[in-house]
Chain length 107, copies 2
Amino acid sequence: MKIRLHDRASFQPDRMAKVALAASPRMLVDLYCLEPGQAQKPHAHAEQDKLYVVLEGRVRVAVHGVEHVIEPGEAVVAAAGHEHGVVNDSGARAVLLVVVAPPPPHA
Amino acid sequence: MKIRLHDRASFQPDRMAKVALAASPRMLVDLYCLEPGQAQKPHAHAEQDKLYVVLEGRVRVAVHGVEHVIEPGEAVVAAAGHEHGVVNDSGARAVLLVVVAPPPPHA
């Protein structure tokens, strides 16, 4: 199935929206859609890697104590066990492609 | 580490170039860089999912017998066990972000 990433973006007024694009026992593919000011709080997964790719907007991603400002065409990997979080402190909406492998046990 | 995806693209005259961006026991993140006419032959991984995201250009991805023409901002997932291949039959270079989870045993 072809996925048109930008067409799938969907926002929530009260918190970051996570849009599931694909899920298997091996990989989760989501969009994270953040209005200005929205965030996903820092957290860690013991056994999961997470790849962030910015599709639209600009966000601040903190991974293992290092902050990265990333824009379209830029990516950051949070390795298993490393705390990571994302904040949209820009003035515009942001859309990220996020891949998690393997899926967390609670997913 | 921030990855500037387009800066990492690198082409080979004789075959599709695969540029490793990140690798762990959980996930491989690569760029596939295809000159016009280059391809990755159809193949399958019994236990791996593969996500293709087009960053630049236009390619034809065949997954499990279905062909998809994908362009920037579009993606296709090849699930474990499903044959998949990619051809750049356009007249321009193509760059894809490819995530494989988990890495194949031979990777």
